[in-house]
Amino acid sequence: MAEEPAAPVACPFCGLACDDFFDLGDDLDSKGCGLAAEGLAIPAEGGGPRLAGGAVALDQAVTAAAKLLRGSAAPLIAGLGSDVDGLRAALALAERVGATVDHLASDGLFRNLSVLRRKGMIALTLGELRSRCDLLVVIGADPRPGFPRFYQRWFNASLPAPIGGGTRRVLFLGAEPLPETRADLGEIPIAVVPGEISRLAELALGLRSLVAGDYFSAGSIAGVSRNVLTDVAQRLGAARFGAAAWAAEAFTFPHGDIAVSALLDLIRALNRTTRFGAVPLTGRDNGMGAVQVATWQTGYPLRLAFEAGTLRHDPTHLSWRYRLAQADLLVWLSSFRREPPPPFDGPVIALTAPGTAFAAPPAVCIPVGVPGLDHAGDVFRSDGVVALRLARRRPSTLPRAAEVLQAMNEALAC
Amino acid sequence: MSGLVLNGVVIDDTFAEAFPMAATRLVITADSPKWARIAAATMTGFATSVIGCGVEAGIERALSGEETPDGRPGVAVLAFAMNEEGLAQQVTTRVGQCVLTSPGSACFAGIEGGRKIALGKALRFFGDGWQIAKRLDDQRFWRVPVMDGEFLCEETTGSAGGIGGGNFLILASSRPACLAAAEAAVAAVAPLAGCILPFPGGVVRSGSKVGSKYPKLFASSNHKFCPTLRAAVPDSALSADDAAVLEIVIDGLDEAAIRNATRAGILAACALGRDGGINRISAGNYGGNLGPFHFHLHEIMA
């Protein structure tokens, strides 16, 4: 293996992949980010591999796992929190054993993906948001809890002025910003238009017609009066380079993808006269990396199954939640957090961050290293464009998930 | 000349000479039979002869609600032109000007197959973007917003080969007698399917011949049957007792339709009899060289 960069490294726990937590040679400063503080504090030790609760050597655990995998008619590999190498190994194993593959946080991912694949998308990356955007529209619940440093790093008053000039403004559509967000934004003018977020789809489409000049008669939409909507539409149209950010994982009202679809329609209408793009915030636990790797290796973004030498993709029936009820074996991969597997009727093979607390001891439990702490690796940022290199931060004996999965694969080949 | 005499009326041993035409049928409905007929009558107005009108059209028959696609009373209309292009252009224009405009109207295809003639396909644009299409199985309809609701119009109607120029002449000893016979003939033909009588009230008095002394005219007065010229021309077809002649012109979808209409019309005219002033029944032809369809009166009346 050739040399690794000494520093800096990125943080893998949310989709922002911040690379400014470490200063060369210094200790960690999580800069107020709770997710980073929590993730980076996962201790390196928490016991070794176990079979039904009893400690074993790694190769024994791998052999036991391979035996379970060989006997399974409908295995499910889920959780899927891992770096790019871990994802590669998970897909290779899935192909060998004929498994279904999905990521823990895929509900949010697929709310965006289903629209992207049906209609397309107009989007922009975090760097463009930071350096070009003059109007940020935050849609729905403030995404700060899931992306704690979103405003700090990508949109606030202390950043250099947008390229080409202009003043940064932010509009919260559907919900109030958190107090911490107001603090993050600093002097940036804030407008808030609260509304019934479960009716976001109607709200977005109504704005679309106002932007496009199409008539409709309703006096208010989702609790927002027509006058206010007209004003919002005017502001959107007046932006030079606007961005609409949302965290689709929070669109938990029924059929949140329809809201995303309506937002895309609004953005398309805006691009007839100005520039505007979406900033979908997703990808915690390298979910965006999972989408990317699965797509380049198979053509399909997760929710895919290898069955009897075929490859199948079905966002409805191959989601891990749906599939749990039909699977006879669960491989649960969570290397970024101590996330226990969901309740499951069959045997569980758990590859999780050290110290994970289980409701019941899994058939096979193999603690694995945390990428970015225990070993190097690659993760993708929320925008799917920028991949960042994680470095090893501490001495560790924990195996990489990729190694463990590959060992199982090799054990099955014998 | 072998003799055929009906009720004292002499049937000439001659034939009507007819031409192939392009034909179509429309079904026009409305809220009442009255308004269906008004729409149809307007649409088929000024449609006596292709020579001056571009199309020959008329009401074929009235339709009950059971016979129409939307369950309302209607009428069937037939239109004939020299070719499909001319037919399509006339039909689209006339439906647009006369049916679309008529209160409560709807317009449907009355014939399948052949070249499609645009109805709603062309007229939908009147809807200025508000028109709505609907496909039901293989049919497509347009709903065009208008001030009393919607103009419902099928996308297209079909077309078929038709025959124009079927005819017979009624020679009578007086004008009233001649007209009475002609009216009787028209009434007899009216209920028959597959044909129309395109001239005013189904009757034409200006029977014509091909050509004229004036180079620009294609047709001119048929002097052989003009009573006022009887003594002035060497080739008059009239005898001293013939004081008036009227012609019944029949366009039909096929030969059988024209034959049926000719027979029904002549029988009705002849029913008035020699005593009623009806002298002879004849027919117009051009010597048999111009039209491929020859309707021999003796054959038809046999």
Binding site: S209, F306 | L136, F141, E150
Partner: protein, 273 residues
């Protein structure tokens, strides 16, 4: 013509991909060949004979026929790419019933799972029981939903019936879930019972006929008043041939929309006769 009847041995177990099991295909095969036909069951290939008992089926029809006995929701992809013949399912089916069906007739005595009639372009699909979500909706990545043919559901249907429906008719004897006819492009959906939130949301064209007054319509629908124009009897007469509840001569309340999507579709709420 020949016909076969396959009887499922076990009601539960791994899901079975029934795509290869089509009336036209099986009618050309001998019993031994049918028994040997490999089917994907879970993550393995298994011979059809291990999953089904086969017996001669209806020989009276004039086209190829196939009956599936003791069917359950294990069976996915029934009638996929079917172009002709008759498929009669006794019991329930799983997902993607009639996927990309282009012709022929499928009847199901029970209920069907999600995504039935996805990509359907022709033929007739009749389900006596209920249908799952995404009936006639686009499959993944596809730009349009069902593009032709007729679907008749006796009971209820799930969410997003006829999403992005391109052409054809979906007639539902019971109620429908949320977002019935969402982003519909054309075609007809009729629902006798109550339908959930957002019927017709973002629809561009087409007709949604409701037999029961919905709780609320999306804001982009404009009340365009009582509708008793000639199109309604024309449409009802056409649809009533397939679903008797649509017969009748009454008028309707009509809404035009979804205006916020620049749409020109309609929701017709029928008078109860």
């Amino acid at each position: 013509m020949t016909g076969w009847r396959l009887v499922l041995k076990q009601p539960t177990g791994p899901r079975i991909d029934m795509a290869p099991v089509l009336p036209q295909r099986l009618s050309a095969l001998a019993a031994a060949e049918i028994r040997a036909l490999p089917l994907t069951c879970g993550n393995r290939l298994r011979p059809l004979g291990a999953l089904f008992d086969e017996e001669p089926g209806d020989q009276s029809g004039d086209g190829p026929t196939l009956a599936i006995g003791a069917a359950t929701a294990r069976l996915d992809n029934l009638g996929r790419d079917m172009a002709g013949g008759t498929l009669a399912v006794e019991g329930d089916t799983g997902a993607f019933l009639g996927r990309r069906m282009a012709g022929g007739t499928i009847t199901v005595t029970g209920s069907c799972g999600a995504h039935a009639a996805a990509g359907m372009t022709g033929g007739t699909l009749r389900v006596a029981g209920s249908a799952g979500d995404f009936l006639g909706a686009p499959a993944v990545g596809e730009v349009t939903g069902m593009a032709g043919g007729l679907v008749v559901i006796g009971g209820d249907a799930g969410d997003r019936v006829g999403e992005r429906l391109r052409r054809g008719s979906i007639l539902i004897g019971g109620g429908a879930g949320a977002y019935c006819g969402v982003a519909m492009i054309a075609g007809t959906i009729a629902v006798a019972g109550i339908c959930g939130d957002g019927p017709g949301f973002a629809m561009r064209r087409g007709s949604i006929i409701l037999g029961t007054v919905p709780k609320r319509l999306p804001v982009g629908f404009a009340d365009s008043g009582r509708y008793s124009l000639p199109f309604l009897p024309l449409l009802r007469r056409h649809l009533a041939r397939h679903a008797a509840w649509l017969a009748g001569s009454g008028g309707a309340d009509r809404w035009l929309g979804d205006l916020t999507a620049g749409g020109r579709g309609e929701i017709l709420c029928l008078d109860r006769d």
